[in-house]
């Protein structure tokens, strides 16, 4: 008797747990409609995982999921960077070309025999300088964010081309490659292992740090306040100018970090690296539920957004029927759908 009853009790408990979660989500969404895109992103991610598993198989597997993280570590970092900027209502179009400049410069310096630690610090500092420049232009000279960062985007691309227009290979014995090396954490059957690279660890640390800064510090609250209303936060006495410059510095610095992570994994840098990554980063952020007008959003949502894009690439490769050239069109389409969704949500709130 008991043996028969337990599964039923289990299933009913499970069902009630699921309905509880659904009810909870519904309540949160009803109280704060801006959460809806984030919830939608999580639902889409789970949906894509299930669809991929059913249609192609071998998705819910340790090695597939760890590869997803390894291959998208740089995108996760970029999405975090973009979240800071978009939360203040700005935009940073320069991330892709900062990565190009930083990685080309880094690989060339490293091949010239510079100390790897110095090279890594310099690569990150290049990003910081670009971020600082756009921040100062935007805050103190009233240049629109997208114009200032567009100028930085072309400046970075041009400088990278000045350095080299050939693919630069990082030498095989360079210690920087250690950051992209794969370590087995759990040794599974055959190749089904849980693998991490130091790059993934860096990405996760960046996410945790960003989460802490945005939700637990005064600077983070100021970032949200600026996105809500810049003039109100200035009147409240918040450090608006400093924070606005800071978000671009953070974004530039994290682009530098992403350049280190990406270069260490690939070992090749070229002046055309990272074309269109600004779209990927914006798309990840927007899919993750950050409003383009600023003020609402979650850094963890952006991580989900980055993973959605990464998983989409995996599914496109697995499918084989969709030409890889379609990827940017599909990314653009998804971004458009989510921007429209945001538009619908915000206009509902205003009326």
């Amino acid at each position: 008797m008991t043996a028969v009853q337990t599964p039923r009790a289990d299933s009913s408990a499970e069902a009630s747990a699921v309905s509880k979660i659904v009810a909870r989500v519904k309540r949160v969404v009803a109280s704060n409609p801006s959460v809806l895109p984030t919830v939608a992103a999580i639902v889409i991610f789970i949906g894509m995982v299930i669809y991929g598993e059913v249609a192609y198989g071998r998705i819910v597997q340790a090695n597939t999921l760890s590869n997803l993280l390894i291959n998208n570590a740089h995108l996760i970092i970029l999405a975090v960077a973009m979240t800071f900027v978009i939360l203040t209502g700005g935009i940073d179009l320069s991330v892709g070309s900062v990565i190009a400049l930083s990685s080309v410069a880094g690989v060339m310096l490293s091949n010239a025999g510079w100390d790897p630690l110095v090279v890594i610090v310099l690569m990150i500092l290049i990003g910081t300088v670009f971020g600082l420049a756009s921040g100062i232009l935007i805050q103190y000279f009233n240049v629109q964010p997208f114009i200032a960062t567009l100028a930085m985007m072309f400046l970075g691309r041009g400088l990278a081309a000045l350095l080299s227009t050939q693919p630069e290979r990082l030498s095989e014995d360079s210690p920087i490659r250690w950051l992209g090396e794969q370590f087995k954490v759990v040794d599974g059957e055959k190749v089904n292992d849980v693998v991490v690279t130091p790059g993934v660890v860096i990405a996760l640390l960046v996410v945790l740090a960003a989460f802490f800064v945005l939700h637990r510090t005064r600077t983070g609250r100021t970032v949200y306040a600026i996105g809500g209303s810049e003039s109100s936060s200035a009147l409240m006495g918040l450090a608006v100018p400093r924070t606005k410059v800071l978000v671009y510095v953070i974004s530039g610095t994290l682009s530098g970090v992403a350049a280190v992570v990406y270069t260490s994994r690939l070992g090749i840098a070229q002046n055309i690296t990272g074309i269109g990554w600004e779209l990927d980063a914006i798309a990840a952020t927007v899919i993750g539920g950050t409003l383009l007008t600023g003020g609402y959003g979650y850094v963890l949502g952006s991580v989900i957004g980055a993973l959605v894009l990464g998983l989409m690439n995996v599914l496109i490769t697995r499918d084989g029927g969709i030409p890889p050239k379609m990827t940017t069109i599909i990314t653009g389409g998804i971004l458009l759908v989510f921007v429209l969704l945001q538009r619908a949500v915000t206009s509902k709130r205003h009326t």
């Binding site: 935009i91 081309a161 383009l292």
Partner: protein, 364 residues
Amino acid sequence: MSTDARWSWLRELIRKPFFWGLIAIVALLALNVLKDPNYLALSINPVNGNLVGNVVDILRASAPILMIAVGMSLVIATGGIDLSVGSVMAVSGAVAMVFMKEAGESGSLGAALGAIGLALLVSAVLGAVNGVLVAYVGLQPFISTLIMMLAGRGIAKVITEGQNTSATNDPFRWIANGFVIGLPVVFLLAILIVLVVGFVVRRSALGLMIEAIGINPKASRMAGIKPNGLLLTVYILSAVLAGIAGIMSVGTVMTVDVSRTGYQMELDAILAVVIGGTSLAGGKFSIGGAVVGGLLIATLDKTIVFLGISSSATPAFKAIVIVVLCLLQSERVRSWFVQRRRPPQGRMTPSPAPVKQENQEVTA
């Protein structure tokens, strides 16, 4: 009196926003002349009577930039931006090339016209998508055109299946490489289109309405201007002009390279518009300024190549120019200059601070 009149004419010119653009063109040409004293020399090709020379090359190269600069200046005047012009150029070029490759007849005027018509139609559709997203859906212009900028290049790749596509068609080639009365057809065509656009927007209320939207959308709506249709028209016009630019730039080599045709041309367009004195904040535009800006960029491109610097590094120079121009437009930098100029004025008129105090005393 005569000297006075001459000075006022000069002062008028200096006050034009694109005056510094003209100075820059002259400076760049002077730089080239320093390197090669024969730089400005023009000669007539004895075989066909065409003008040959570096200046003719610059004029020819400026044609596509003029097209997108004029379109962009209208879009920027409405307070928007069109980042998709470069990708639209690639799409238009790809459509034209694939069409002519399929048509096959190398001398057919019909195939050339069909290719141009189809390319412009596709460009107009892309522009309409931008326009609908901006005007009717209410998205920020830069995000909707950014999506189009990146997706457009994907569309061009899908059209050509990712390969550089070449075609042979003599009438089409003539547009980009032909000469009429000794001047390149492509430049004459560009000037003609600029004149038509300029005539339409300046001799009708259209230009005024576009500026009104850019200055204050709410006030212009209350004044009875319907912004949606106008915005849609402006974005379609910008895309069609970009499509023409695409035809011009693929026509020179009769090959479309989907990853390079129109690449980073949006920067050129924005730069040309800013050089021409149009504020990026919207509200005012100057077609003449955009033309000067376009010519300056073509001169800059040719100068950089002439001086032996890698052409893929040109974006860096342009980015520096655009940053400097944005700085010059900003309030803060202007106030520095005003403060320096104020002391001599102060002697003529009482400084504002004491006036305020007097007012307070009176009211008190």
